[in-house]
């Protein structure tokens, strides 16, 4: 280890100070804030379980919590399933150049406004929108797609599908080719190769991809708000409502802490599972 001098500190201190001021500070403050109380429209800094007991005893908080968990879980599962055949094709049936081009294309959506894309889905899915216009030409519909869980899922998938597809493709492209060849030589069908070789070998990548999809959907307010019609609301929408309309910041902080605890638990479990060595048989 080298001696700590001015030079080393110059590169180490700025980020520590910056993150303490603008990341760790706010994060700890939001935890502390969940124990504050609001009196006469003013927040009083104290340590009481007022907001916690109010929020935890309410049914709508728990139904929002369950709904958010189920929707984010469905988005992660759907994105993983939908992406898999495409990722498999890109990883094993395409040239390296085609794969690179596909990944480059999939990065583009991250640089278009997610808001504008959601708005676009709104006009596509609406009762008199683009999709129903197309169905009408075939003599079908109109179908109600907005303000339903389906609308929310479409929004989540717009957000997470490109990411999951990229991660799965990279994961599978990095699996040792010899393993797959060996499976072939031993007479495995494609399906058997996927089940016995690709899934176990790429386990970590698949789980991390699904975890990202879950985290992003769990925290997103745009899709459930605009495409799901806030009906029922999700946890992020509860945060917005209690902050923006109700001025009840401590209660919003309770929701935020509940979300953080959930995410940490799930992320921890997923990562433990992803990196666990398989028991040898």
């Amino acid at each position: 280890m080298r001696r700590l001098n001015l030079y080393a500190l110059t590169f180490r201190l700025p980020i520590i100070i910056w993150q303490a001021l603008f990341f760790i500070g706010p994060l700890l403050f939001v935890i502390a804030m969940s124990f504050f109380v609001v009196k006469n429209f003013r927040m009083v800094e104290t340590f009481e379980f007022d907001s916690w007991s109010k929020m935890i005893s309410r049914d709508f908080v728990w139904s929002a919590y369950r709904y958010t968990l189920v929707m984010a879980g469905s988005a992660a599962a759907l994105a993983s399933l939908l992406a898999f055949p495409a990722a498999w094709f890109l990883a094993f049936r395409c040239s390296a150049q085609a794969r690179q081009l596909a990944i480059l294309l999939l990065i583009i959506p991250f640089f278009t406004s997610y808001l504008v894309r959601t708005f676009s889905w709104y006009t596509i899915l609406a009762e008199s929108g683009v999709l129903n216009g197309g169905f009408a030409l075939l003599g079908l519909g109109p179908f109600t797609m907005l303000n339903t869980p389906f609308g929310t899922l479409v929004g989540y998938l717009t957000f997470v599908l490109p990411l999951v597809l990229i991660l799965q493709t990279v994961t599978m492209a990095n699996i040792d080719d010899r393993l797959i060849q060996a499976a072939r030589n031993l007479g495995c069908s494609s399906a058997r190769t996927i089940r016995s070789v690709i899934l176990p070998a790429g386990k970590t990548g698949f789980i991390i991809a699904a975890l990202f999809a879950f985290i992003l959907s769990f925290g997103d307010f745009v899709a459930p708000f605009y495409l799901g019609g806030s009906n029922p609301p999700t946890m992020p929408i509860l945060i917005i409502d209690t902050t923006k309309a109700g001025q009840q910041w401590p209660r919003a902080a309770v929701v935020a802490v509940m979300m953080m605890l959930t995410l940490f638990t799930i992320a921890f479990a997923a990562i433990m599972f992803a990196y666990r060595k398989r028991a040898s048989r």
Binding site: Q19, L82, F111, L115, V116, F119, G134
Partner: protein, 259 residues
């Protein structure tokens, strides 16, 4: 089988790109409510936004925020990447964790935390607050890009400079910085693009100084307004230009290194 999979791949890409394409197409569509078949071509929505002082004000704010964010985030990212590259010390994983953690925390939580924190320390509703929040969100990307570049450097280069009598500062200036230049430029463009699109934290923190995406958010909350498509198409043009420049910088650098 292959044909099915190819069709499926097209379908998936169709799903990903449909909203982008629809938004671009309908930004030129004369009907207020977008439906099929499309009606005539118009530039009305672009004229509307260009005539709107709110658009220009928020666009200016966005440029200020993205411009400042990219410089600070890249500086912080560089410092972190260099520290990680050169030093090992106790608590290094904690050090790296507090920098790399922000993207894993939902933006809505960061937004609430920033709002509360900034109003506590008397910094609420200012452009500086958005910049501070955005640097925290984008510094990890800067760090990742620059760290990747540093992993390609020959470690003996810096040591050689020291042996030739250069101070650490001089070696930084003459060896490390020039080597990292393409990654630094790339990081500047990428972090600017991310900041330019971010709306959750900006919405909570901005107060009256709204940025362009917050302006869009407010329009979307009102009615169906094809202005959004026009703004979206413009912003997409700007973001994608930034990203393409950033990618080209890396690409040409690699080409030159290869030849």
């Amino acid at each position: 089988m292959t044909i099915f999979l190819r069709a499926y791949l097209v379908l998936i890409f169709g799903f990903v790109f449909l909203p982008i394409i629809v938004s671009m197409l309908f930004s030129f569509n004369s009907d207020r409510f977008p439906t099929l078949p499309m009606s005539g071509f118009t530039l009305e929505w672009y004229q509307t936004i260009f005539a709107d002082p709110d658009f220009w004000r928020s666009a200016k704010n966005s440029l200020i925020v993205a411009g400042s964010t990219c410089i600070i985030a890249t500086f912080l990212g560089f410092c972190t990447a260099y520290t990680d590259y050169r030093y090992s010390f106790r608590g290094k994983s904690l050090f790296l964790a507090i920098i790399l953690l922000p993207p894993t925390i939902p933006l809505i939580i960061i937004a609430l935390a920033m709002l509360a924190w900034f109003s506590r320390v008397g910094m609420s509703g200012q452009i500086v607050s958005i910049i501070a929040a955005h640097t925290v969100l984008t510094a990890p990307f800067a760090m990742a890009i620059i760290r990747l570049r540093l992993s390609q450097i020959d470690e003996s280069l810096e040591a050689a400079a020291w042996n030739l009598g250069a101070s650490e500062w001089r070696a930084m200036q003459e060896v490390i910085l020039p080597f990292c230049k393409p990654a630094i430029l790339s990081s500047l463009f990428l972090t600017a693009a991310v900041s330019f699109d971010e709306f959750t934290v900006a919405w909570f923190v901005s107060g009256l100084n709204k940025t362009l995406p917050v302006h869009v958010l407010e329009i979307v909350q009102g009615t169906i307004d094809p202005q959004v498509n026009a703004i979206g198409t413009l912003v997409f043009g700007i973001s994608i230009t930034l990203v393409v420049i950033s990618q080209l910088l890396i690409f040409f650098r690699l080409q030159r290194a290869a030849s």
